[in-house]
């Protein structure tokens, strides 16, 4: 019995260390730091400032605008991504020749490096780039400096790229949901004379609701953390800076305001936390965890 206990501890040691050193400690560290003026370059000793950082944050125009941008990003991309990926899943769920090829092609962007994707689209969105060319061809006017160097189009351009990149991934999850719908249901509907559209709305959609909900929640959590594409494409200019970009900029560049950035981190954490709790509840319903 003694030896099993020892074995258990040895087996679990790597996770315990990772959990304590790289998760628990950092979480507590930034919680506490958020109430201080701790920074890398300040000469004075670190002082406890209570809720000052939080008070300052809610009046900081840059932070408020980063919240606004993040919310536009999340609530703009998540619904569109969900609808398009569902449509694509239904499209490739039927039996037809070359199905595997189409699925693989659709999925490809989501395993490509975000830095690479952002570089590619920086060029495509440029003045004289392919996307501007396509827009002109279709009769739309295009911004003079390209889509990314313009306040009114930069964020939406990044959002469009993000949707393009992630639909393939969520399509795969929808596909696994579609597979679990028994085909007898469709046969019964066909016998009763229900068409494709009717079948979709009265069978597919209601039965996919749990999967859709799951996708919406994980995509929301992921989208609240948008950073790389903004960093590469606009460096946060032209009203594109997200909350993570704000944390990055105030926390680990120029002024290294650890305290201030930690407070901002916890505000982001609280927002994401709400969705994490929903995800937790969904997971428990999908499969009993313990």
């Amino acid at each position: 019995m003694q030896s099993t206990r020892l074995t258990t501890v040895v087996l679990l040691l790597p996770w315990i260390l990772t959990f304590v050193v790289f998760w628990l400690f950092p979480l507590l560290f930034s919680l506490i730091t958020g109430f201080t003026d701790y920074s890398l370059i300040s000469r004075n000793a670190t002082v406890w400032v209570g809720f000052d950082n939080y008070r300052e944050l809610i009046t900081d125009q840059e932070f408020i605008s980063s919240i606004k941008n993040t919310f536009i990003f999340v609530f703009g991309t998540v619904p569109i991504t969900t609808v398009i990926s569902l449509y694509m899943a239904v499209l490739v769920n039927r039996r037809f020749k070359g199905r595997g090829l189409f699925r693989a092609g659709y999925f490809l962007p989501s395993i490509t490096s975000m830095v690479v994707i952002s570089l590619i689209f920086t060029n495509l969105y440029n003045r004289g780039g392919y996307i501007a060319g396509l827009a002109t061809m279709l009769g739309f006017s295009t911004p003079e400096n390209g889509f990314l160097y313009n306040r009114s189009t930069a964020l939406y351009s990044i959002m469009a790229m993000d949707i393009w990149m992630s639909v393939g991934y969520y399509m795969l999850i929808f596909l696994s949901g579609l597979k679990s719908i028994p085909s007898e249901l469709y046969e019964a509907a066909r016998i009763q004379g229900a068409g494709n559209i009717r079948q979709f709305f009265s069978i597919t959609l209601p039965l996919l609701k749990p999967v859709a909900l799951f996708i919406i929640v994980i995509n929301t959590i992921k989208s609240f953390q948008v950073f790389v594409e903004i960093f590469v494409m606009t460096k946060g200019k032209f009203e594109t800076a997200s909350m993570v970009y704000f944390i990055y900029k105030t926390g680990v560049t120029t002024a290294f305001q650890f305290g201030y950035a930690s407070a901002a981190t916890y505000i982001l954490f609280a927002i994401i936390g709400i969705f994490s709790v929903i995800q937790f509840l969904l997971m428990r319903r999908r499969q009993p965890l313990w």
Partner: protein, 273 residues
């Protein structure tokens, strides 16, 4: 019959249109990476322009491309190997030894699974600085050696295996570690492969943490190096896309070979990216 046929044609047209939108940017990247420097990249050039490998040659001779490839591969392979071993060990203990202690630890796995890694920006930076690990390979490797998603997937897999073989080996007097490593681990190969691919891809593409936790040029991984390239005035799109192609090709090759495994991993572990 005719209506059925038309429907089929429309279906293929829509499918192909979407496929075009999805793969065009990547094809564009490969095509531009093979264009002679100074090309304008016009649509006509995409079809009729020349092909050259000079951009790739330049990157290897005038930048530390070899070093970046080594860094990306080295870090991603070590992290993947670490995850295979450590996630398996943890998952086995959580699946087979049911005590209060392991139950609490599993809750910690689930919680971390849902906590966004980006909240670590400031604390991880300070931690690495204070531990004198900033700007070393350790900073790129240590935090990611045990990923909760790997533990979660492997635990589920181990629970689906019967424990009769382990019990028999125990009766024969085999030690716990021998049982775990020589009996259970080989049985978990399919799940381990899924975890390995997912961890490798994630780490290969990782940008933010390698970017903030290192400063030396010699420690840059491919995504970090590409972001730095972009900031240089001297670099043109042909070379930038050649560098991008180098970062994408390994992922592409692995994807083509192991497509089925990757897809099953996504659908099984669609919990955290």
């Amino acid at each position: 019959m005719v209506a059925e046929y038309i429907k089929k044609v429309i279906h293929y047209i829509i499918l192909t249109l979407i496929l075009g939108i999805m793969v065009f940017p990547l094809l564009w990247m490969f095509r531009v990476s093979l264009m002679p420097a100074g090309s304008l990249g016009s649509f006509v050039e995409l079809w009729q322009g020349n092909f050259t490998l000079k951009n790739f040659y330049d990157l290897f001779t005038t930048s530390s491309m070899g070093r970046y490839i080594f860094n990306s591969s080295f870090v991603a392979l070590i992290v993947t190997a670490g995850n295979i071993l450590f996630c398996f060990m943890t998952a086995y203990a959580l699946a087979r030894y049911r005590t209060i202690f392991t139950k609490i630890l599993f809750v910690s796995v689930i919680i971390i699974l849902m906590i966004p890694a980006h909240i670590l920006i400031v604390p991880l930076y300070v931690l690495m600085l204070k531990a004198k690990l900033y700007d070393t390979y350790w900073a790129l490797i240590l935090p990611w050696l045990v990923n909760p998603i790997g533990i979660f997937l492997l635990k589920q897999y181990i629970e689906s295996l019967p424990s009769t073989m382990e019990d028999a080996a125990r009766v024969d007097g085999a030690g716990e570690f021998r049982i775990i490593m020589t009996i259970v681990m080989p049985l978990c190969k399919p799940a381990l492969a899924v975890v390995a691919i997912q961890i490798f891809f994630t780490n290969w593409n990782l940008f933010l943490f390698p970017y903030i936790l290192t400063s030396s040029e010699s420690l840059r991984t491919l995504p970090v190096a590409l972001a730095h390239f972009q900031g240089q005035q001297a670099i043109d799109w042909q070379h930038l896309m050649a560098g991008s192609a180098i970062a994408v090709i390994p992922v592409l090759v692995i994807f083509i070979i192991l497509q089925k495994k990757i897809v099953s991993g996504i659908t099984a572990g669609a919990v955290k990216q």
